[in-house]
């Protein structure tokens, strides 16, 4: 139909000639389809399974009749309608509706889910609003499905509780423990990134392999996407950017099958922006950010809009456009969303400080770094705290205050190590080593480089490894600062890590 109007017109003309005055089969009669659908409904209510997933034209009529029956039943019998609607949703979803030019399958799925949610007192808009607000805690609305526990309780954020919940889930396979475990994934992404990545991978694998669907309607796909998002965040904190992007692709795949793809795909686009920033794909970030920000504003996705704005400003900063980045960050900080978005707001302050520092406004930058450090909760956001320590180190180093710089770098490296973020720890140790050499402590510098080497090798940063070894040899031979070489190594590592 969409390939050529002229061809279509001649085709339709031929069709009309051939069918003129003749009978054209139109599939199952309305009444017959309705009767079949009613029998199916009764079967489902009495515990029967779906009979067939074939999609001949008669079956399609039965599916339409079934959805119509569900919509009509919703007002009379809301309790049974969710069961029937969910069974119909899964049956329609599993059918191979090839060459679906008029998006009939998507239309029927949407009507099933709407009817089911309506029976529970929700509209599709309610569901979208809930998913819009997804952040640290409950991945889905417990009210939508009686299977789920209400996961609004706070978690300890150390990863111990996550471990406990996941082990319980592995033992009993119950949805309540799974629900709680998924909610917990988000609360300790920063503090226990390795654990989060491990368990998110296991849960994701289970969701894909499990023959049994979880939740009702599109909740299984939604949950699969949410878990992939948690894995992506964790991989990013571990410096595994390619893996992080892979998880975002999995989240995108799952979210595109939900009834609320618009907001969910936009959220994943924001997440991708942050990973691309970490990968220093600045051109990509700057090209995509304006459209993403505009769409987030239109859909009132405040948190994601803030995230994208910070990413855009940080990309401007990293590409040396400090004058462009400064007013944007000043505006973000001025609007201050400390109560609603504390971690993102502190990130904005830190980035603003970096820009001011690059513009040689050291006093103002220091004030921002100090303010951010005092507000950052080391237990909840170790990555942010370590980042701030690193920035303070850089600020002091730039002004030749090596002793202070060394203290901050050391603190940053230790926080990264404790959080299991070894790539970032290794990177920070190289910066620390540089500061130590500049402070005439070559032996300490060598120790730091040597301690970073295993991670550089494990993460396959071979060139950096070779350069670091060469530096070490040189340093040992002369026992003096090799400033230029170290600078070169630092820049090289910054680009790679």
């Amino acid at each position: 139909v969409s390939e050529g109007t002229i061809d279509l017109r001649s085709l339709l003309s031929r069709w009309l000639e051939i069918t003129a005055g003749g009978e054209i089969p139109t599939g199952l009669a309305r009444q017959e389809a309705v009767q079949h659908a009613q029998r199916l409904c009764q079967g489902i209510l009495h515990g029967g399974a779906w009979e067939s997933s074939s999609t001949d034209d008669d079956s399609k009529d039965v599916l339409y009749a079934l959805v119509e029956t569900i919509e009509q039943t919703a007002a009379r019998d809301p309790t049974s309608v969710v069961r029937i609607a969910d069974a119909a949703y899964r049956a329609i979803e599993s059918t191979d509706w090839s060459a679906d030019i008029f998006a009939e399958k998507a239309g029927l799925l949407s009507r099933c889910a709407r009817a089911g949610w309506k029976a529970r007192g929700h509209s599709l808009e309610d569901v979208a609003e809930f998913r819009k607000a997804r952040n640290a805690l409950s991945p889905f609305d417990a009210r939508l499905s009686s299977e789920w526990t209400d996961s609004q309780s706070a978690f300890d954020e150390t990863g111990e509780e996550l471990e406990e919940l996941c082990r319980r889930w592995e033992l009993d396979g119950g949805n309540r423990n799974l629900s709680a475990a998924v909610a917990c994934l988000f609360s300790c992404t920063q503090s226990s990134a390795p654990r989060v990545l491990f368990w998110a991978s296991r849960i994701h694998e289970h969701l894909l392999a499990s023959g049994r669907r979880i939740g009702v309607f599109d909740e299984h796909d939604y949950l699969t996407g949410v878990v992939a998002c948690a894995a992506s965040d964790a991989a990013r904190y571990l410096g595994e950017f390619e893996a992080s992007l892979g998880w975002i692709a999995r989240a995108t795949d799952a979210f595109s099958r939900t009834q609320t793809p618009g907001i969910l795909l936009l959220k994943t686009a924001c997440q991708r922006l942050v990973v691309e920033l970490s990968e220093k794909r600045l051109h990509d970030v700057l090209a995509q950010a304006p459209a993403i920000i505009r769409r987030c504003d239109e859909l009132a996705l405040k948190r994601d809009a803030l995230k994208a704005r910070i990413a855009e400003a940080a990309a401007l900063k990293d590409s040396g456009q400090y004058r462009e980045a400064e007013p944007r960050l000043a505006e973000i900080v001025r609007q201050g969303e400390f109560t609603a978005q504390p971690a993102l707001s502190l990130m904005a302050i830190a980035t603003y400080g970096e820009v001011l520092s690059a513009l040689c406004k050291y006093t103002e930058a220091d004030a921002l770094f100090t303010e951010a450090s005092s507000r950052a909760d080391a237990k909840r956001w170790p990555a942010l705290c370590a980042h701030l320590q690193g920035l303070l180190g850089e600020s002091h180093r730039d002004r030749g205050r090596m002793e202070r710089a060394i203290g901050h770098y050391r603190a940053a490296a230790e926080i990264y190590e404790r959080a299991g973020m070894h790539s970032f720890a290794a990177y920070t140790r190289i910066l620390l080593a540089e500061a130590l050499l500049l402070h005439s402590c070559p032996a300490d510098a060598e120790r730091e480089i040597l301690s970073a080497m295993p991670v550089i090798e494990a993460k396959n940063l071979r060139q950096e490894g070779i350069a670091a070894l060469a530096l070490l040899r040189e340093s040992r031979r002369r026992r003096q600062t090799v400033r230029d070489a170290l600078k070169k190594l630092q820049e090289h590592l910054r680009r790679r890590i």
Binding site: V1, S2, L8, R14, D61, V67, A99, F102, E104
Partner: protein
């Protein structure tokens, strides 16, 4: 033509039947009428899929409205209110606002 039947004709018949409450026979007539209008009026600059859907929806709504009017009149005045010019008048009303979605 077999592809046209399966991919275009039948989905549009289902649309008219299940979205607008028509019988299969009325739905078939509506789609045939939409095809006829397409041969005459379909603008190459427009999206044919959206155009066809729009025309089928309008024809179906008009037919359902007309049927409902007949039922009311029959209930009040008895038999004899059948309008044999239903299709032509429906087609005429569609041409006024067809293809708004383009």
């Amino acid at each position: 033509l077999d592809e046209l039947y399966r991919r275009v004709f039948l989905p549009l018949v289902r649309r008219a039947t299940w979205n607008h409450g028509l019988s299969k026979e009325d739905a078939r007539d509506v789609v045939q009428e939409a095809f006829l209008l397409a041969v005459v009026k379909l603008d190459p600059g427009r999206n044919p899929k959206a155009w066809l859907v729009h025309v089928v929806d309008n024809l179906s709504i008009n037919l359902a409205r007309k049927a409902s009017r007949h039922h009311r009149l029959e209930a009040r005045w008895g038999l004899g209110w059948r309008d044999s010019s239903c299709s032509q008048s429906t087609a005429a009303s569609v041409t006024d606002d067809e293809g708004e979605d383009g």
